[in-house]
Subunit: 145 residues, 2 copies
Amino acid sequence: MRFSTRGHYGLKAMFDLAQHYGTAPVPLKSVAERQNLSVQYLEQLIAMLKKAGLVKSVRGAQGGYMLAYSPEEIKVGEVIRALEGPVAPVDCVNEFDPKECDQADFCITRIVWEKIRNSIAQVMDSITLADLCREAKRKKKLEKS
Amino acid sequence: MRFSTRGHYGLKAMFDLAQHYGTAPVPLKSVAERQNLSVQYLEQLIAMLKKAGLVKSVRGAQGGYMLAYSPEEIKVGEVIRALEGPVAPVDCVNEFDPKECDQADFCITRIVWEKIRNSIAQVMDSITLADLCREAKRKKKLEKS
DNA sequence: CAATACCCTAGTAACATGCTATGATATCGT
DNA sequence: ACGATATCATAGCATGTTACTAGGGTATTG
């Protein structure tokens, strides 16, 4: 069981934008360099994030991307869902539109997948981009000392 | 992000075997009928479970499969790992052999995936097949009343 | 000896992934 | 005005995985 690189890379990019929140728009090229990702691929991911309303863009020279809200207001779960779709370890417990099979009523194993789904969602929704920035700061401080 | 049908179907099958624990070996055909799965596909899944030491088999007529241990001793996590491999939402936080990238030291988003991994593992490892059997019993009782 | 059932391997259609390529459009600085 | 910088949009594509099916073989029972 794996998430795709979309969620993986996309979260990296959003974290990068969060660290530049409040400054000038950040061009994807610089995000790609810092996070060691392909610009072209990142463009596709950020398009999804824009569609989801999580980032804003400024076109043209000196342009780039920025978070649509403050890092404090953006949960990791929103980012990952925008890129990976709803949390659904198996189809019949999709968090938004479960494709329930005819056995749904008496399928006991279902409760396992529901619990897994809920615990994933709980983690994703309890961490904000600001939390990650704080963590980065803390780590930097530790290195210095 | 999804688990494959291997974990999904395999857990169903193991639950089925758990419900017949202590009786004669259960032929796959009957498991497949009850759980609405293809016999041929199930054979492949159960082969993996056997390799992992979770089930025993009896060949020939009147043969079939049975749990290698009591349902109380078999965690859902063991079943799922046998079929899906180690819990690893992204490769760099694989629970057994993480393919750490060169950024591992300063990659902050990593902690998100670690937390997700841990919460999945925690759920899987805190439920036994016996728990599922008890749940099934409870549900059956509720239906009657 | 035939019925039952486990065991093993190979093949394969369909789909998802993780990109790259190409080109268009908008904006800024000079 | 123009060229550099960026975003924006779509298409293509190699590779791998999934979810099976097919077609055997082997062991055991009655």
